[in-house]
C-alpha cells in the first residue's frame, strides 16, 4: 500500500507507541495492523500483544492527539507511552545470556562427566577432564561475573551476602578441579560448579523478568501526566505542545474533560474543576477568571484559557514529589527474605567449610584432600535450592495475580503484602469509583433513555460520558439524533423523533451536587443527579480483610460530611480533612505502634502516604504518581482484588517457607556426607538438581493462588 504513494509525499517517518489495554484477541491485532495503515500518513503499525502496545510508523507531521483519535476510531482506547521510560530490560537480557551459556556448558560437561562416572579411566578420563575444563573455565568467567561482581561489592564494604559463598565455592572448586585434572586425579567437579551457576542464574533471571513484566504493565497504564496542552501562539493559531515544553506565560486552552498540564491562572471562561487527584475532595470547585488552577486537575465544565505560571518541575506537584522521596526511606530499609536468610546462611557456610578443612588437616589428611573436601562442602551447601526457593514461588504467584488483573511490581512487594496487618484506604477514587455516576435514571422512560444516549455519546463532557457508560451498560440502544450542536459549558441539543431534545447545565441544582437537566419538547424537564458511587465489592472486601486479621480505616482529604456516609456504609473508622502530610503522619503513628500498614490510594495527594506505608496498592484509574509509587496496581472497578492479593501473598510466603524447609532438609542430609568426604561429583550433581526440581515443583502449586 505504501508503494503506491507518490514519492514527493515521502516525509521523515517517526515511530510513536500507544498503550492499548483493550487488545484481547487475534482480531484486535489484525484490526489495528490492517486498519491503521489505511489512514493517510500512517505507513505501518505493529502490535505487541504481550505489552498491549501498538507502535505506529507515521509521517512526522501527524501529532499525538491525531494518532490517538485514529486508534480510538477503530474502537480501542489508547494512551501514548514513552518507550524510553517503558522498555529497558537490559538486565534480564544479560542474565538470560549468562544463563544460556551456563546451560549449554552444563549439558556438555555433564555428557563428558557421565562417561567418566560410567567407568572411563586412564587417558580417556584425563582427556574428558581437560575438555570439561576447556568448556567450564570460559563459562565460569562469563556467567559467573554476576555473582563475582556482587560478592566483591559486598566484601569491599565489609559485609557478606549470598554471593560470597557462591563465588568462593565456584572459584575454589574450579581451581581444585583444574589441579586434579593437571595431576591426573580421579575427581573433577566442573559439572557441579557450572550446574550451580546455571540454577542460580535461572533464579536471578526469573526475579528480573518478574520486575520487568510488572514495570511494563504499569508503564502501559501510565497516562503520561497530562501529556500536553493546546497552546495559543502569538498569531492566534494553536499548537499542541508536550508538557515538558510548556513555559510560564504561554496561554493554553483547556477543553472540558482535559487535565491541566501546568499550574496557571484562568484568563477566560468559567468552569468547574475536579481537584480530587490533588486534594481528595470529591465535589468540583467553581473557578472563574483570576483563579489559580493546578496541574493534574480535571476541567469538568466549559473550555477555559489558562496563562501558565509554573510548568514542569516547579508545579505544585513537585512538593508532593519531594514528600514522596522522603517517605520511601522506610521502605528501602526493608530486607528481603532471601537476603535475611543469606545473612544467617553465609557465615554458617563459611564456618562449616573452614572447620571441615581444619578438621581434616588435624586428622592428617594433607592440604590437598582437605581443600577438596572444603570445596565440596561449599558446593553442596551453596544455596542452589535457596536461590530458587524465593524467586520461583514469587514469579508463579505474580503470574497468577497478573492473570487476575493485579500487577505486583516485585518480589519484595509480595513479601511485605504478606506481612501487612492493617489496611488504610483513601476515599475518593479508591473506595469510590472517582467518577460521577447517575444516581437514578428510573424517571426516564425507555424512549427518553435512548434519546439521552444519542445525545450523550456525541459529547466528551465527563457527565455525558457517565450517562453513556451507564445507559450502554443497561443495554439501551441509542436513537439517531440529527443536527447535534454542543455548546461547551452549556450542553448538547439535537433533533429527535419526539422533537428538540437537550441535555444542559443544571444551574439551579444544589451546588455541592453534580447534576444536569434533560429537556424534551413539550415535556417538563428532569434533573439527573450524579454522585461518586462506591466500588463494587467494597463491603465484601472490607469483610474479607477483617477475616484475614486486617482492620480497615479511611484516610481522606475530603470533608468529614462527604466521608461519613462512606465510613458508615462500610462500618469502618475514618479520618477526614487530612493533608498529604497528615496522611503520612497518621501512617507513621500506626507504624510506631508496630502495625504494618497496607495503604490503598489513588490520588496525587496519596502519593506520599503510598510511599510511607509498609506496602501499598493503587487502582489502575489512579494518578501516575499513585501507580508509580504503589507496590501493586489492580485493574477494573471492583475492590475485590485487594483482599485476593493479600491472600495470594500470604500463600506465597507459605510456599517460600516450605521451600526453605525443603532446602534446609536437603542440607541436613548432604552436608554430613560432604564433611566426611563422601560426596563424589556424581552425588553432588544428583543432590543439586534433585533439590532444585523439588523446590520449583512446589512453587508451581501457586498457579491458582489468585483465585
Amino acid at each position: 500500500m505504501t508503494a503506491l504513494r507518490p514519492l514527493a509525499a515521502v516525509e521523515t517517518l517517526v515511530e510513536t507507541s500507544f498503550s492499548v489495554p483493550s487488545i484481547r484477541c487475534a482480531g484486535c491485532i489484525s484490526k489495528l495492523e490492517d486498519g491503521l495503515p489505511l489512514n493517510p500518513g500512517i505507513t505501518a503499525a505493529r502490535v505487541n500483544f504481550t505489552a498491549k502496545r501498538v507502535t505506529i510508523i507515521h509521517e512526522a507531521s501527524l501529532d499525538i492527539p491525531h494518532l490517538r483519535e485514529t486508534v480510538e476510531k477503530l474502537g480501542f482506547e489508547a494512551q501514548p507511552v514513552d518507550l524510553a521510560v517503558a522498555g529497558n530490560d537490559d538486565e534480564s537480557r544479560g542474565l538470560l545470556r549468562a544463563m544460556a551459556v551456563a546451560g549449554f556448558a552444563a549439558m556438555n560437561i555433564m555428557l563428558l562427566s557421565v562417561s567418566v562416572w560410567s567407568g572411563a579411566d586412564g587417558a580417556t578420563r584425563n582427556l574428558f577432564h581437560w575438555l570439561s575444563a576447556l568448556i567450564a573455565l570460559p563459562t565460569i568467567t562469563y556467567s559467573g561475573r554476576v555473582f563475582f561482581k556482587s560478592a566483591w561489592n559486598a566484601l569491599r564494604h565489609g559485609h557478606t551476602n549470598m554471593d560470597v559463598p557462591i563465588s568462593i565455592g565456584v572459584l575454589l572448586t574450579a581451581g581444585m578441579s583444574l589441579y586434579e585434572t593437571a595431576t591426573g586425579g580421579a575427581h573433577a567437579y566442573f559439572d557441579g560448579a557450572v550446574m550451580l551457576l546455571f540454577f542460580l542464574l535461572t533464579g536471578r533471571w526469573l526475579d528480573s523478568v518478574m520486575r520487568d513484566r510488572a514495570r511494563d504493565g504499569v508503564a502501559a497504564l501510565l497516562k503520561q501526566a497530562a501529556s500536553g496542552a493546546l497552546v495559543i501562539k502569538k498569531d492566534g493559531s494553536t499548537e499542541w505542545r508536550a508538557a515538558q515544553d510548556l513555559a510560564p506565560n504561554l496561554r493554553m486552552i483547556v477543553a472540558a474533560g482535559e487535565r491541566l498540564a501546568a499550574d496557571g491562572t484562568v484568563e477566560q471562561g468559567r468552569s468547574s474543576f475536579d481537584l480530587s487527584l490533588l486534594t481528595g475532595e470529591s465535589a468540583p470547585q467553581a473557578i472563574g477568571p483570576g483563579d489559580t488552577v493546578h496541574a493534574g486537575t480535571l476541567n469538568m465544565g466549559a473550555p477555559v484559557t489558562v496563562r501558565v505560571t509554573k510548568a514542569g518541575p516547579n508545579t505544585a506537584l513537585a512538593d508532593i514529589a519531594r514528600m514522596m522521596e522522603n517517605a520511601t526511606q522506610s521502605r528501602s530499609r526493608y530486607v528481603r527474605i532471601a537476603d535475611r536468610a543469606a545473612r544467617l546462611y553465609a557465615p554458617a557456610v563459611h564456618l562449616l567449610a573452614a572447620l571441615s578443612f581444619a578438621g581434616w588437616m588435624i586428622l592428617g589428611a594433607g592440604w590437598h584432600e582437605s581443600l577438596l573436601i572444603a570445596a565440596t562442602v561449599l558446593i553442596i551447601t551453596c544455596p542452589c535450592a535457596l536461590g530458587l526457593a524465593v524467586p520461583a514461588a514469587q514469579i508463579v504467584a505474580v503470574g497468577a495475580l497478573m492473570r487476575a488483573g493485579v500487577l505486583v511490581k516485585d518480589g519484595s512487594a509480595l513479601e511485605r503484602l504478606a506481612e501487612a496487618d492493617r489496611a488504610l484506604f483513601d476515599k475518593t477514587g479508591t473506595l469510590t469509583l472517582g467518577r460521577p455516576d447517575p444516581v437514578d435514571l428510573s424517571m426516564l422512560s425507555a424512549e427518553e433513555k435512548s434519546i439521552v444516549l444519542g445525545l450523550a455519546r456525541a459529547s466528551r463532557h465527563p457527565l455525558s460520558q457517565a450517562l453513556r457508560r451507564n445507559l450502554e451498560h443497561i443495554g439501551v440502544v441509542a436513537e439517531d439524533i440529527e443536527d447535534i450542536i454542543e455548546v461547551p459549558g452549556f450542553g448538547v441539543t439535537g433533533k429527535s423523533r419526539c422533537g428538540i431534545a437537550a441535555i444542559s447545565r443544571a444551574d439551579d441544582a444544589d451546588e455541592t451536587d453534580l447534576a444536569c437537566r434533560f429537556k424534551l419538547d413539550g415535556v417538563p424537564s428532569v434533573i439527573i443527579r450524579f454522585r461518586d458511587a462506591l466500588r463494587p465489592d467494597a463491603l465484601s472486601t472490607i469483610l474479607a480483610l477483617r477475616r484475614l486479621g486486617m482492620e480497615s480505616s479511611i484516610l481522606s482529604g475530603d470533608r468529614a460530611a462527604a466521608v461519613s456516609p462512606v465510613s458508615d456504609t462500610l462500618g469502618i473508622s475514618a479520618c477526614a480533612d487530612l493533608s498529604p502530610a497528615g496522611k503520612v503522619a497518621a501512617i507513621k503513628d500506626l507504624g510506631q505502634t508496630g502495625a504494618k500498614v497496607l495503604m490503598i490510594g489513588d490520588g496525587l495527594n496519596d502519593g506520599p502516604a503510598l510511599a510511607s506505608g509498609h506496602v501499598s496498592m493503587a487502582p489502575a484509574s489512579a494518578s501516575d504518581a499513585g501507580q508509580n509509587t504503589a507496590d501493586a496496581v489492580w485493574m477494573g472497578d471492583s475492590l475485590a482484588p485487594v483482599a485476593a492479593t493479600v491472600k495470594a501473598a500470604r500463600r506465597t510466603m507459605q510456599i517460600v517457607r516450605q521451600n526453605f524447609v525443603l532446602a534446609i532438609g536437603y542440607n541436613v542430609i548432604a552436608v554430613p556426607l560432604a564433611i566426611t568426604g563422601h560426596v563424589t561429583p556424581l552425588v553432588a550433581a544428583l543432590a543439586m538438581s534433585g533439590s532444585s526440581i523439588v523446590v520449583v515443583a512446589n512453587a508451581l502449586r501457586l498457579r491458582g493462588a489468585a483465585r
Binding site: G27, R97, V101, N108
Partner: protein, 53 residues
C-alpha cells in the same frame, strides 16, 4: 578412541550452534511478543481488515 576424537568436537559444535541460534533469536526480537506470536496464527491473511474475525 579415534571415533571419540571426531564425535566429541561434533557434539560440541552442534551444541554451540544451538547456543548461537538462541542468541540470534534473542537479538532479532523473536522473544519480544510471545503471547502475540501465539495469536497471530489465527489471523486470516485473505480477509484483510479483520472483518471475518
Amino acid at each position: 578412541m579415534n571415533g571419540v576424537l571426531i564425535l566429541i568436537p561434533i557434539a560440541l559444535l552442534l551444541g554451540l550452534a544451538g547456543l548461537v541460534a538462541f542468541f540470534w533469536a534473542l537479538r532479532a526480537g523473536q522473544f519480544d511478543d510471545l503471547d502475540g506470536a501465539a495469536l497471530r496464527i489465527l489471523i486470516d491473511e485473505e480477509e484483510k481488515n479483520g472483518a471475518g474475525l
